[in-house]
């Protein structure tokens, strides 16, 4: 079954690169996702692009035989494919010929043996000894150059990741990220599960984006089965997605204030966050909006949203304090600049992309529920911490407006589809989470079980943006830059 918003184009090994390049140029799209899937005798590679103009997704596909698992790398022409190619090599043992970086992203050399590929169907947990090879970080050498290793256990209460700074005096000349510490093998865990039993797991991919992830997954499954989600349920989902955006944005606004030592607005921001959590609790029974999305709709109805007005009144104070403090603005502007060109090359989308002038938001034209609402996109061109802060402020206020409008449109009626079925097929589910587009490409087998589920959290691509944004900044500004992106460790590591 085909879907009107997805176009699949088959290629052969000799024109796969050219096809990808033409899609990339024609639609001005980075590689939004690139992944493999195992067929009977072949592996199939998918390379996904987004067309903002046509509101469609384009996939270039390439079949490669299992006995010769390799394909020509496209990362030389389209850099945003680089991480995905490395991921395919690591998870499937398919070699992207011409991609020189064979370091692993998640299955660290210290603990995982060579030649064991988890996403192959015949995978069994390896008994061999780990490779034991040390991870080769890029070295910066020269007089007065120091290396500063940070993590995976950090000073604060945050996720695990390793940052290797090279500094010449104060300024950072290179930052290398080594992630994968949160790898839990989610994509493998999803295999052979009935979709309805898998929703709960998708919520735990990145807990702070539980609604976005579970909705994107449900969207894919609902598209495959032609399941019609009742309008009331769709609008409830959108309201919860906006609430998720609000509590995360205000947490980051406070986080940016605390990272420059401005504790008073940070305290106010955390009170606002707490208020949204308790509102969430009252609406859904979960402070983090877990357990609400199910295939075909939502698990429970929501009550009234009293309290939103006072949250907005408090937020107005917060905004006033931050944007009128000269010493605060001096720290965030123009710190941590991610230039538009760099962002485009890396495939940075979502919030961080919009702060660098890339006007992609799936809520405009892609997500059906939002089509009727005239949603105003907020973009900035400076790409610094201030731009990312302002995007958050705009979107927080925008989300509140959207929630009010969604509430006005909330019809009475069912909240769960009646024709829930799981049939064979594949589709892409997508949702604009608070960090950016969350994509789930799902293939169901003949029994309606998950054969392959590729999860693409925007963090995966955007982490690299951070390592470019901090160049030339000083290490004490790193926490601020990091917070201004606030990417997900578990979302990127899967």
């Amino acid at each position: 079954m085909t879907h009107k918003d997805e176009v699949y184009i088959e290629a052969a090994a000799d024109n796969f690169g050219a096809l990808c390049l033409s899609l990339h140029k024609e639609h001005c799209s980075p590689v939004m996702g690139m992944f493999a899937r195992e067929l009977k005798d072949d592996y199939r590679i998918y390379c996904a692009f987004i067309s903002v103009k046509l509101k469609k997704w384009f996939f270039a596909t390439l079949d490669i035989p299992k006995d010769n698992p390799q394909f020509p790398s496209i990362a030389k022409e389209i850099y945003s494919a680089n991480l995905f190619e490395r991921e395919i090599r690591e998870m499937f043992g398919i070699n992207p010929i011409g991609n020189p970086d064979n370091r692993r992203l998640r299955l660290h050399e210290e603990v995982w043996p060579k030649g064991s590929f988890p996403l192959r169907k015949d995978f069994v947990p390896p008994k061999e000894k780990p490779e034991g090879r040390e991870y080769p970080f890029a070295k910066v050498e020269g007089e007065g150059v120091f290396e500063v290793p940070v993590g995976p256990v950090h000073a604060g209460i945050i996720g695990p990741g390793h940052f290797r700074f090279s500094v010449a005096g104060e300024p950072i000349v290179n930052l290398e990220l080594r992630l994968g510490f949160s790898h839990r093998g989610v994509e493998k865990l999803l295999e052979n599960k009935i979709p309805s039993a898998a929703v709960r797991l998708t919520e735990c991919v990145a807990g702070d984006s539980a609604v976005a992830h579970s909705w994107a997954f449900c969207h894919a499954v609902e598209k495959i089965g032609g399941i019609k989600v009742p309008e009331r349920a769709a609008i409830i989902r959108a309201i919860l997605l906006e609430l998720e955006r609000m509590y995360n944005h205000v947490a980051d606004i406070g986080g940016m204030a605390i990272d420059v030592g401005f504790s008073h607005p940070a305290a106010l921001a955390s009170i606002i966050k707490e208020s949204i959590h308790s509102l969430n609790q009252r609406l859904t029974g979960s402070r983090f909006l877990k357990g609400i999305n199910v295939i075909g709709g939502v698990a429970r109805d929501i009550g009234n949203l009293d309290g939103l007005d006072s949250i907005m009144a408090d937020f107005k104070d917060l905004k006033g304090i931050l944007l009128s403090s000269v010493s605060f603005l001096d720290r965030v502007e123009p710190t941590g600049i991610l230039r538009r060109e760099t962002a485009e090359n890396l495939g940075v989308t979502g919030l961080a992309g919009r702060a660098s002038g890339i006007a992609i938001d799936l809520r405009q034209g892609f997500m059906e529920t939002y089509n009727k609402l005239d949603y105003k996109l907020s973009t900035y061109s400076s790409g610094d911490c201030l731009a990312r802060l302002k995007i958050r402020i705009d979107e927080f206020e925008g989300s509140a407006k959207l929630i009010r409008r969604l509430l006005e449109n909330l019809p009475q009626g069912e909240i769960l589809a009646s024709d829930i079925n799981f049939k064979e097929g594949y589709s892409l589910g997508y949702v604009e989470g608070w960090r950016g587009p969350v994509l789930y490409w799902v293939n169901l087998d003949g029994e309606g079980k998950i054969d392959r589920c590729k999860i693409i959290d925007p963090s995966f691509r955007s982490w690299q943006g951070l390592s470019y944004a901090v160049l030339g900044e000083i290490i004490p500004d790193f926490p601020l830059c990091n917070k201004s992106f606030d990417l997900s460790y578990p979302g990127g590591d899967l």
């Binding site: 996720g159 510490f181 009170i271 959590h277 006072s310 578990p490």
Partner: protein, 169 residues
């Protein structure tokens, strides 16, 4: 009137209706917690947190326990940057293979006597990720765990309650 009351009252005057939690309960449990910490830890119980691959919201709730509404620091519970300063190690996540060494090293860096507390369902036995090829499944296989705080994730109030239960023993 405590600082928290003043802060909240100030917000109340401005029209906040969503008073987040039962403040009374926090205050009452906090007072008890403070008494227990004063008696056993000379006024400060220091915790070092380690994430071994959680989905991130256990951390969010621990951070929330430090926000002005709960503010566990005023009862003597401090989250410290170095394991050298810690009385207890608070572990979240199902223990991914990549975090095994870091977890062990953090524990080894702590001075004796030391406690290990696990937080969240994943940390107990791997939780929803139990079957995965890449998780060890549960902190207690690796370190001696004194207390487990269940939940997915436990709320700040539940965290305070569990700590109180432990320190009152």
């Amino acid at each position: 009137m405590s600082t928290l009351d003043k802060l909240l009252l100030c917000r109340l005057r401005k029209g906040i209706v969503t008073v987040p939690v039962e403040i009374q309960k926090v205050e009452q449990m906090g007072a008890e917690l403070k008494k227990a910490i004063n008696a056993r830890f000379r006024r400060s119980f220091n915790i070092r947190e380690v994430d071994t691959g959680s989905c991130g919201i256990c951390e969010a709730e621990i951070i929330a326990a430090n926000n002005p509404v709960y503010d566990v620091a005023r009862f003597g519970v401090n989250f410290v940057a170095s394991p050298r300063h810690a009385d207890a190690l608070l572990v979240t996540g199902p223990v991914g293979k990549n975090m095994l060494l870091a977890l062990q090293k953090t524990y080894d860096a702590m001075p004796e006597p030391k406690l290990v507390i696990t937080l969240g369902d994943c940390a107990l036995d791997g939780g929803i990720f139990k079957e995965s090829y890449y998780v060890e499944g549960g902190v207690s296989k690796i370190l001696p765990v004194t207390l487990h705080i269940p939940g997915c994730p436990p709320t700040p109030l539940e965290i305070i309650e569990a700590l109180l239960g432990l320190l009152k023993q």
